[in-house]
């Protein structure tokens, strides 16, 4: 046994506190330590995931108090897969940004601490089994995200970050309101306990709490009217951070929203609401994406659209739908991160990141361009790359649930998506480079990181069975509310001295 789930939080926190100290002694350690921590977390996550798949959910109690009283971490197949995905993405992005801010020690130190905390916070959101603890992790993630968004000094990054912060603090207020509404009714903060007692709540409290949760978590999950900050933040953040937003942070937000809707309350209509809101998000953001002339904004809008699709898939609510949603989620994490990572080399030159800057990069940055194209094909859902399977499973789940109109809508939106991605690919490969632009060769570590993502895309594309078994278990785990409650509430015993 390598460890237990709490080490996903404890070890990086310890490391975060340690980095400033070690940095005084050995400057390179600020870069290496986060990587080691993430690597350890990755190994731990994979080991635990393997174990969970065979023996069932691990519930870890903290501070020796069993669930309704203490905080607990739940490493079920569902949360485990998400956590593993996030840590994997975190590790790859760490590889990519290993030489980030090579000359400026202070900046680099802060970057790595904040980045590690971003990953940890997201993992915490996914693993925790307590709503207030989740709130704390959301704040950890948000503050790191604000700082990372505003990381570059000579851009409009502070503006983006301030927008994010405004909306984000509203989100945390609504979460607090929701939490206190629940607490006032049930006297507990534990998710499983809430789920088992949810019928005791007066309906108006329940609905108000659900609404506040949807708003508060919707901001993190980037649903339509609440996502104005997203394109700005994604576009202004440094490239790897944009990738981390798309690959890690959104996933945590979506997870939190899904957990509230699927497990906590049995309010009717939430599934339909998810579908409606997901479709709206998807349609509007894809429409905005096709009219962008800046690469990163385009990617950000596209990311919104994809997450909308994921929400629709979750909203179908059947096991198939969740399976498809998980598949889409993984594909989006990998594909969109790859796009952000390679895209930031393609438009390295200016702060504006116009799409026209990618013109003719295929000749100068062959590997980066190829990986960008691969990522684009995967994200669009072209077979035989990974995106196709997600899309197909999603479609067939929707068809099983008899939602043909939704399929048609999604497909017509996918058409829009296809057009703007192919436009960029055309520019990369077939246009003449603009003369004032000097291509920037990616560093070796960046190439390794991007290539890893590319290989994952190919592997999943050609051999989806690699993950589909896990995903089936995960979707069963999410749907089986009773088992979740039982797993959590029956764990451990009251430890006494």
């Amino acid at each position: 046994m390598v460890g237990s789930p709490v080490l996903f939080i404890a070890v990086p926190l310890l490391a975060a506190f340690l980095i400033p100290l070690l940095g005084m002694v050995w400057k390179e350690s600020i870069r290496i330590l986060p990587g080691l921590v993430l690597l350890y977390m990755l190994v731990l996550a994979i080991t635990l995931l393997e174990q969970v798949m065979h023996t069932g959910t691990i519930v870890e109690i903290l501070a020796g108090w069993k669930p309704p009283w203490g905080i607990n971490l739940v490493f079920s197949p569902f949360t485990g897969i998400l956590a593993t995905l996030m840590i994997l993405m975190g590790f790859i992005i760490w590889i990519y940004s290993y030489r980030f801010k090579n000359v400026d020690f202070e900046e680099a130190k802060k970057y790595f601490i904040l980045f590690m905390m971003l990953v940890t916070g997201s993992v915490g959101i996914v693993l925790t089994g307590d709503i207030f603890n989740q709130f704390v992790f959301i704040e950890i993630t948000s503050i790191s995200a604000y700082a990372l968004t505003a990381f570059y000094k000579h851009r409009d990054s502070a503006e983006a970050s301030f927008k994010y912060l405004m909306v984000g603090s509203l989100s945390s207020m609504f979460l607090l309101l929701a939490i206190i509404l629940i607490y006032s009714q049930l006297g507990t903060l534990n998710m499983a306990d809430i789920a088992s007692k949810a019928h005791l709540m007066k309906p108006e409290f329940k609905i108000l709490a659900v609404i506040f949760f949807i708003v508060g978590l919707g901001i993190e999950a980037e649903i339509f009217p609440l996502n104005g900050w997203v394109p700005d933040a994604y576009a202004q953040a440094p490239g790897p951070v944009g990738a981390a937003f798309a690959g890690i942070v959104v996933k945590a937000g979506v997870y939190a929203l899904i957990r509230i809707i699927f497990t906590l309350f049995d309010v009717s209509g939430t599934h339909q609401f998810l579908i409606v809101i997901g479709l709206t998000t998807m349609i509007i953001s894809e429409m905005a994406a096709i009219r962008q002339d800046r690469l990163k904004r385009m990617l950000a809008y596209s990311s919104l659209g994809q997450m909308g699709l994921v929400l629709v898939a979750f909203g179908i609510g059947t096991e198939e739908g969740i399976f498809a949603a998980m598949f889409l989620l993984i594909n989006h994490a990998i594909g969109k991160s790859l796009l952000f990572l390679s895209g930031s080399y393609l438009v390295y030159n200016s702060a504006d990141k116009y799409i026209s800057e990618t013109n003719g990069m295929g000749k100068f940055l062959p590997v980066t361009s190829f990986l960008f194209a691969l990522g684009a094909l995967a994200v669009v859902g072209m077979p035989p790359f990974s995106g196709f399977w997600g899309k197909f499973f999603m479609m067939s789940a929707a068809a099983h649930a008899n939602m043909l109109l939704i399929i048609a809508l999604i497909l017509s939106v996918s058409l829009i998506e296809l057009v703007y991605y192919f436009r960029v690919i055309n520019r990369i490969y077939f246009y003449k480079k603009e003369s004032h632009i000097t291509p920037k060769k990616p560093t070796v570590n960046a190439v390794i990181a991007m290539a890893t993502l590319g290989v994952i895309i190919l592997i999943i594309g050609f051999y989806p069975d690699l993950i589909s078994g896990y995903l089936h278990q995960a979707s069963q785990a999410l749907l089986d509310k009773g088992k979740y409650i039982q797993d959590v509430l029956s764990t451990g015993q009251l430890l006494t001295h």
């Binding site: 704390v136 704040e139 604000y146 000094k153 409009d156 503006e159 301030f162 405004m166 603090s169 509203l170």
Partner: protein, 137 residues
Amino acid sequence: MNFTLFDLKIVEYSFFITAILVIMIGLYGALVKKSLIKVVIGLSIFDSGINLLLISIGYITSGTAPIFSPALVKDMPLTLENIKKLSEGMVDPVPQALVLTAIVIGFGVTAVALSLVIRLYRHHQTLNIDEIKNLKW
């Protein structure tokens, strides 16, 4: 002690009403005021309102603070019954613990927000939120 004033609902709910009003005022400031500093002030007022709401939800009429101070437990054996009796007269400690966390977090967010305001002022030479929109659509 039979004041008619006490029977009015408004008295009982005065804490809730105040909290809601403060929340509304804070939100108004955050949503309407043009100055970035005013926006941050609005958000922090909002925060205060929510904290008040949380604490007042945990309140129990004529309860005591959830502290078993020496004065409270003196010459009383610490048996389960005694503690139970004492604890029934205590206000709920959980919201207090939550608010404690929330205050600190709120402060952290405010600090970050204000440093962003300084950055924005340095960059734009203005604090008017309507002029700070280089990023749009």
